[in-house]
Structure formats: structure tokens, C-alpha cells
């Protein structure tokens, strides 16, 4: 091992005014090492890597490279020092080709003209090296999401790098693509590159990392050799308590007539096909990998995508024409996973957001009742413990957790009997998480039914009384009682019986 770390953070911290989001992080990353950073959402992982990659400046502590103190004014300067961040979101120009994207801003030129042939050649080499199926002349918008991610990685690796930081690179990848990506990371390690790897997926971390650093609530909990920790220990270090305490107790099995039964539902011209039902007093989990078609299936059910069904019965009445409105009248509501894009009007105030779906209920006449709206808002703020400084804030000013509670309050305004919640706790902190679990538990115990879609296996297993696992648009397994555990969900989601391995969804 070299005398100095490739990259070293010493007492690194970041504050915005009074609010400290990260404090006192000390870690080093050596050449030829994969160092994983794990932590819950909001633990400070993204802040840390922004500091290390020059996207933000620390307000405390120092960064050193090869033993010399450095500071980066911006990401370009960090890149000059050989540090690159592979973003989680896809930051590519969709209308340009793969090669044009790879060389964007650093085109190979011949005289005054760009040398497309040389760039295509180099792009092809690079894509082949990282195992991408994309061709240099493909337009990025024509590529599936996973391929775009690989192009983005290729772009980061175009020049020689000392330190490569990956921000949840496998979030959008299917399993075989994950394997390819892990091979890329191992390849970098063999080349003597220092890799900082941020991920939620503990199985990957265990498989890949040499050392693991745990962050929680903006503080560093510690660094351990990966071999010394089990996945469960990692999870408990991240959460800071015993995992079992987070979830409410399961409910007794019910034999009532289903509140919702769906048969022969086909969405997006057969891309998703399923039949299922859910009973009062039951939390039905819908599991599967990202891209397995869970959200699409439910959006189809709600009439938000092209779909057809043999029969959909809500509360005993057959729904002929499915739309968000007709489903709501029948007693079924859907809470989207895309809180900011499809759930809330971020520029509007809280009251209009809360009552948008239930305008007819809150305002029986023609005229909007301002008093009734404010009363509804006060009640929602109290019932769902929405923390707000003022009732006249815009929804976009709330924290993620409070936005999620507002969204929950919004769909509950119509007093539904079946609630479908897509990713109930994505991007929110642990305190709000456990509150939302309690809301779900209380709603179900009061005789409602709830369907929960979640990509967090622990959440799914912790909440659901019954789990349907989807793979490539089909339900491939139903898990009950003792069968409900992470291994079974993952096994069914990745190797569904009786199904073709239908490509990369």
C-alpha cells in the first residue's frame, strides 16, 4: 500500500447557514481499493461526494490527494486532479449520438472540423471495454435506461482517472447489467484506480468493497473492513437501531370478500398482465426489481396508461370506464412514486394541493370555500403530523418527508377504501418513515385495504401481510406468512419460475 492515500478527507463538514448537513468525516481511499459509503437517504452520502468531487465546497476540514492538501473551486478543477463523479441521474443530451455525448466539450478535432471518425473509433473501444452493447452512432434517446447509464460511466472513464466516485450506479440496472457494472468496477481497481462506491444495495457492497464507511444523520459512524460485517450488521449500523422495531406488527389473516379484485388486466398492449385482489385489513406488497412493471401495472389499472381488463371490481361494483376520477368515486386511490413530478404542485400552496383531488367533497357548491379548505388543511396537518412553519407555504418548501405526508393526506381526503401507495418512503428520513408505516397500519386496521409497491426489500417484507412478486410485467410468485422474507422476494424477482428471462425491462 502506498505511503499516502489517493484521496483523503480530514474532518470534512458542510453547513448551510445554521443547518449542518455533514460533519467531521475522516476517511481515506487508496489506489486499487473499493471503498463503499453506505447510509440511509439523507445520511449525507450525496453531500460527501459533492464535496469530494468539487461540486460543493466544504465549510470544515480538508481534502488531500497523495499527501498534498487540495481544494476544488468546481467540478472541472476536481476532474483536472483526476477525480470524477459518475452521477446517479442520467446527464446526457438525448438527441446526440453516443459518441457525440462521450466527447461533448472535448471533441477530437482535425483543423477546424470535428473528427467524427476518430471519436467513433475511440468510443467503440471504450464501450467494448465496459461491456456496453451501445454503438457509437446510436442516438442516446433510443437507448434503454441501463445502456444510458453505461454510456455515462464510459464518459467518466474517457480520460485516465485516479479516483472514480460512483453514486448508486446500479439503481436503474437489471441484474445482468449489475454484474457487468461490478466487473467494470473490479477492472478499475485492478488498474490501480481508487474507487468510492455509494450504494443502498448491501449485497453489492459486500461483494465488491474492501472497506465500508457508514454515515448516519450527517455524521460518520465508522469504517470497517467489508469482510468483517454481515449485511444485517451494515443495515443496523445505517439505521442505528434494531431493524425489527421499525415496522408495526403484522395483522391477522382475513377472509373477508376482497375490496378490490382485478382480473385479466393488460397494460401497455400486454407489456404488463396480471390478476390480483386485496382484502380489507390487509397490506398487499407488490415486489420486484426496478423495471419489472409494477408502477406501470397500477397506472394502467387507474386508467393513466393504455390498458384493458376483463373485470375490475371495487367495493362490489364493477368499474366499466377506468379513470382516476371514477376509481376515486368507487373508493380506490393511487399515491404516485413521483412525488415532485406527479404528486404535488410544488409552486402552489398547501391547501390547493391538499384539496385538488377532493374539490367536489370540500366544496359542494360552485364557489370555493376558503374556510373549508383551511379547516381541512389544519386537520390534515394535525392528523398526519405535517411539520410546517406556516399554513400558507408552497408545497415545494416542505421537506421530503412532510411532502409525502401531505400527499398521503391528499389522497385520504376522499375517504377511500383501497389505497395503493407506490414507494411510500422513497427519499425520506427514518422518523417520517416509521410514522408513515404507522399510518398504513392504522388505515388497514380500520378496515381499509392497502397495496404497497416498494423497491426496498426490508420495507416490503416488514409491512406486507402478503406479497406478489413481479418480473418482466408478470406476477411470478405469491408469498404468504412465513414465506415472506427478503431471500424469497429476491429469488422470485430475479429467477421467476415458468417465465422467460424476458430481456432487460
Amino acid at each position: 500500500m502506498p505511503a499516502f492515500a489517493s484521496l483523503r478527507a480530514d474532518g470534512l463538514g458542510k453547513s448551510y447557514g445554521q443547518i449542518t448537513v455533514l460533519s467531521d468525516v475522516t476517511l481515506d481511499i487508496h489506489a486499487g481499493e473499493v471503498h463503499a459509503i453506505i447510509g440511509e437517504n439523507g445520511a449525507g452520502k450525496s453531500t460527501l461526494m459533492k464535496l469530494l468531487s468539487g461540486h460543493a465546497s466544504p465549510t470544515a476540514g480538508h481534502i488531500a490527494m497523495d499527501g498534498r492538501a487540495v481544494s476544488f473551486a468546481n467540478a472541472v478543477e476536481a476532474e483536472k486532479h483526476g477525480i470524477v463523479l459518475v452521477h446517479q441521474e442520467i446527464l446526457l443530451a438525448p438527441d446526440l449520438t453516443v459518441a457525440q455525448n462521450l466527447f461533448l466539450g472535448r471533441e477530437i478535432r482535425r483543423g477546424f472540423m470535428v473528427d467524427d471518425r476518430a471519436m467513433d473509433r475511440r468510443a467503440a473501444e471504450l464501450l467494448a471495454r465496459i461491456g456496453s452493447a451501445a454503438r457509437p452512432r446510436d442516438r442516446v434517446s433510443d437507448l434503454p435506461l441501463a445502456q444510458r447509464q453505461l454510456v455515462q460511466i464510459a464518459r467518466a472513464l474517457l480520460d485516465e482517472r485516479k479516483v472514480v466516485i460512483f453514486d448508486e450506479p446500479t439503481a436503474v440496472l437489471a441484474n445482468d447489467e449489475v454484474a457487468a457494472l461490478l466487473d467494470i468496477v473490479r477492472g478499475l481497481r485492478e488498474h490501480g484506480v481508487a474507487v468510492l462506491y455509494i450504494s443502498h444495495r448491501l449485497d453489492e457492497v459486500q461483494e465488491l468493497a474492501d472497506r465500508v464507511t457508514v454515515l448516519r444523520d450527517g455524521r460518520m459512524i465508522g469504517t470497517w473492513p467489508a469482510a468483517e460485517l454481515t449485511q444485517r450488521q451494515m443495515a443496523e449500523l445505517m439505521v442505528g437501531r434494531e431493524l425489527d422495531m421499525l415496522y408495526p406488527h403484522k395483522r391477522p389473516a382475513t377472509t373477508h370478500e376482497p375490496l378490490l379484485s382485478v382480473s385479466g388486466l393488460e397494460v401497455d398492449h400486454g407489456a404488463q398482465k396480471a390478476s390480483f385482489d386485496v382484502r380489507p385489513g390487509e397490506v398487499l406488497g407488490l415486489g420486484g426489481m426496478i423495471g419489472s412493471g409494477r408502477t406501470e401495472l397500477i397506472e394502467g389499472l387507474m386508467g393513466l396508461r393504455p390498458s384493458q381488463a376483463a373485470s375490475v371490481v371495487v367495493n362490489g361494483s364493477e368499474i366499466a370506464h377506468r379513470s382516476v376520477g371514477s376509481m376515486m368515486e368507487a373508493g380506490l386511490v393511487y399515491l404516485t412514486e413521483d412525488r415532485k413530478g406527479k404528486g404535488l404542485l410544488l409552486d402552489e400552496k398547501l391547501a390547493p394541493n391538499l384539496t385538488l383531488q377532493a374539490l367536489e367533497i370540500v366544496n359542494p357548491g360552485t364557489v370555493l370555500g376558503r374556510g373549508a379548505e383551511m379547516a381541512a388543511l389544519r386537520k390534515a396537518v394535525a392528523d398526519y403530523d405535517i411539520r410546517v412553519r406556516s399554513l400558507t407555504l408552497e408545497a415545494g418548501k416542505l421537506s421530503g418527508g412532510n411532502q409525502q405526508k401531505l400527499l398521503l393526506a391528499k389522497v385520504m381526503m376522499t375517504d377511500p377504501s383501497v389505497v395503493i401507495i407506490d414507494e411510500p418512503t422513497r427519499g425520506i428520513d427514518i422518523g417520517n418513515k416509521s410514522q408513515i408505516y404507522e399510518f398504513i397500519d392504522a388505515m388497514v386496521r380500520s378496515g381499509r385495504a392497502c397495496i404497497v409497491i416498494s423497491s426496498e426489500m426490508q420495507e416490503l417484507v416488514g409491512l406486507a401481510d402478503r406479497i406478489l412478486v413481479m418480473r418482466a410485467g408478470r406476477i411470478v410468485a405469491e408469498l404468504l406468512g412465513e414465506e415472506i422474507n427478503e431471500e424469497n422476494v429476491v429469488y422470485a424477482a430475479t429467477s421467476g419460475t415458468g417465465q422467460h428471462t424476458g430481456g432487460t425491462a
Binding site: S323, T336, G341, P352, L356, N363, R378, R387
Partner: protein, 331 residues
């Protein structure tokens, strides 16, 4: 962060004065003040009434445009549509005048409202059902309506029947207790528009569609219907403007309402309505329409700048308004 007993909530913040929202009215005040300084004739009652009356057409159409723009749409066809509706209305009135006399005016006005609503519906349906950009659709109908009025007037003038002139004249030139009818009609349209936009469920849904159409769709709002209805409202406003306009010149020509769409959009935008949708300001729109007309009036009254440059000043106003918006940091 969230532990600091933040649940205590007040409604006070909403009552605080928001300077950004007042900007159009402050600008109106400044321009009136400058007008008084520059020319003593400006502040005469006769001149002020004249200016306000002249701004009525743009103000009425711009109320409709506030709905369209708040919904995230745009209507470039309003000027041509105005001319087309005017033409249809005059033909109807002239046709009915021998049989019904003065009642032909009322019937013609009724036909104008129906035709205006249908023109708006036509725009709205192509945009929502056909899923085509409003810019393109209304650019197309702008050309179509303009060609129709040119065809109907045979390139010349389509005057209203002599027998109707006297009876119809007061709608533009008459007044009630000293307030000209066009001003009263504008006030009625504005009040109705403000009620619809701010106090009804339709107005709330319209704003939500303009703010984020996906959120509206996921909340069970019929986005297409709400949008199409906004174009129908626009069409009705155009028809009302046409009804006020005909007695002023007594004829429709191929240049009737030409380039009005630009003035209308300018009035809406300097009034504080967001061009990308989601926030409508009816009273701001009225202020915008007045600002445009007063600037033109002041330039005509004063000798400092040629009145041929009115368009340049109005164009500069919209750019300055947007820059002010950007640099005051308000949305």
C-alpha cells in the same frame, strides 16, 4: 432540523404585501404620473375616458388569454378570430335587418357569441384531442380566420347596414352616468373572469393543469376538458370584444384586429401571469392593457417621440417587465 417545534402554524404570511404582485399596478401608476408631467392634456377627463375606452378591446380579449395562458396554452389566433367574428356578425345583422329591424343587432350579437365559442372550441379540440402544440394550432387558425375575413370582405370593407347604425352606435359611444358602455362591459367581463379563475373549482383545476399537468391528471382532473374550456372562454371574450368594436368603425376589413394577438399576450404577461402557466392575474392583465394604451396615448400627445415608434416602446416594455421579474428574484 424539524425538531424545532415547527408545528405551530399561522395564516399571517398570506396577508403580507407581495411587492412582485403589485408591480403591474405600480408601473401603471408611474406611467400615469409621467403622462401628467409630460402633457397637461393627458389628465383631462375626456382624454382619460377616451384612453380607457380604447383599451377595452385588448382588455376583454386579454381576460380570455389569461385563462388560456394560465392553463399552459397560448392563442395566437385572437386577432384574426376577432375579425372573422366581426365579419360573421355584420353579415348576420345585415341579413336580418330588413325583417327584424333593431332586434337584428341582438340576434347578431348572439350569433357572434356562438361563433366565438365555436372558434375557441375548434382551437381547443385540435390542441387537446389532436395533441398538437398550441403555438402551431393557433398559428394555423390565425391564417385561416384571416383568410376568411379577407374572403368575406372581398379584400375591401364589409360595412354594417345603415338602418342599424344609429341603434348600435351607443354600445361604443354611449355611456351610463358618464362611464362609457365599453368600460362597463370590460368591468363585467373582468369581474366574471376573476370570479371564475379565483373562486370556482374550474379556476382551481385550470391553475393546477397549468402548474403541472401530470399532477392534475394523477389527481383525477380531466386535463383535456379543462384546457379546451379555456379556449372556449377565450373565444367568448373575443366575441364580446367584437360586439363592442363594430359600432366604433361600423365595418369589418381584412386588417381588423391585425397584430392584436401580440398586444393581448403582452398585456397578460406584463400583468404578472406566468407564460408557462400555473399562475393567472386577471387584474394585472387589465393593468397591462391600460399600460399599453396609455403609453401610446402619451406618445401621441407629446412631441418628443414619433408615434410611429409606439410598437417599439410597447415591445421594450414586455422585455423590461420580464427582466425586472428575473432580477427581483420572484417567480
Amino acid at each position: 432540523m424539524t425538531t424545532a417545534t415547527a408545528t405551530v402554524a399561522t395564516a399571517d404570511e398570506g396577508r403580507r404585501i407581495r411587492w412582485a404582485d403589485l408591480a403591474p399596478f405600480i408601473a401603471l401608476g408611474v406611467i400615469v404620473f409621467l403622462g401628467v408631467l409630460i402633457n397637461s392634456n393627458f389628465a383631462s377627463t375626456a382624454n382619460l375616458i377616451n384612453v380607457i375606452t380604447r383599451s377595452a378591446f385588448i382588455a376583454i380579449i386579454a381576460v380570455g388569454a389569461t385563462f388560456v395562458i394560465s392553463s399552459g396554452g397560448l392563442d395566437l389566433s385572437v386577432g384574426s378570430m376577432m375579425a372573422f367574428v366581426t365579419g360573421i356578425m355584420i353579415m348576420t345583422m345585415n341579413g336580418l335587418a330588413p325583417a327584424y329591424g333593431g332586434w337584428a343587432i341582438v340576434m347578431g350579437a348572439g350569433v357572434a357569441l356562438v361563433v366565438g365559442a365555436l372558434c375557441g372550441l375548434f382551437n381547443g379540440l385540435i390542441i387537446t384531442v389532436g395533441r398538437i402544440e398550441p403555438f402551431i394550432v393557433t398559428l394555423g387558425t390565425m391564417g385561416i380566420f384571416r383568410a376568411f375575413i379577407t374572403f368575406m370582405t372581398d379584400g375591401g370593407s364589409l360595412p354594417i347596414d345603415r338602418s342599424l347604425r344609429e341603434a348600435y352606435r351607443p354600445v361604443y359611444f354611449g355611456d351610463f352616468l358618464g362611464v362609457p358602455y365599453p368600460v362597463l362591459i370590460t368591468l363585467a367581463v373582468v369581474l366574471l373572469g376573476a370570479f371564475l379563475l379565483y373562486r370556482t373549482k374550474y379556476g382551481r383545476r385550470l391553475t393546477s393543469v397549468g402548474s403541472n399537468a401530470e399532477v392534475a391528471r394523477f389527481s383525477g382532473v380531466n386535463v383535456g376538458r379543462v384546457r379546451a374550456a379555456a379556449y372556449v372562454i377565450q373565444g367568448l371574450c373575443v366575441a364580446v370584444a367584437a360586439i363592442c368594436y363594430v359600432p366604433r368603425l361600423g365595418a369589418a376589413t381584412p386588417t381588423t384586429g391585425q397584430l392584436w394577438e401580440l398586444q393581448v399576450i403582452t398585456a397578460v404577461v406584463i400583468g404578472g401571469t406566468l407564460l408557462r402557466g400555473g399562475r393567472g392575474r386577471i387584474w394585472g392583465t387589465v393593468a397591462g392593457a391600460l399600460i399599453l394604451e396609455i403609453i401610446a396615448n402619451v406618445m401621441v400627445l407629446s412631441d418628443m417621440v414619433s408615434e410611429y415608434l409606439v410598437g417599439a416602446v410597447q415591445g421594450a416594455i414586455i422585455i423590461i417587465a420580464m427582466l425586472a421579474h428575473r432580477f427581483t428574484g420572484s417567480r
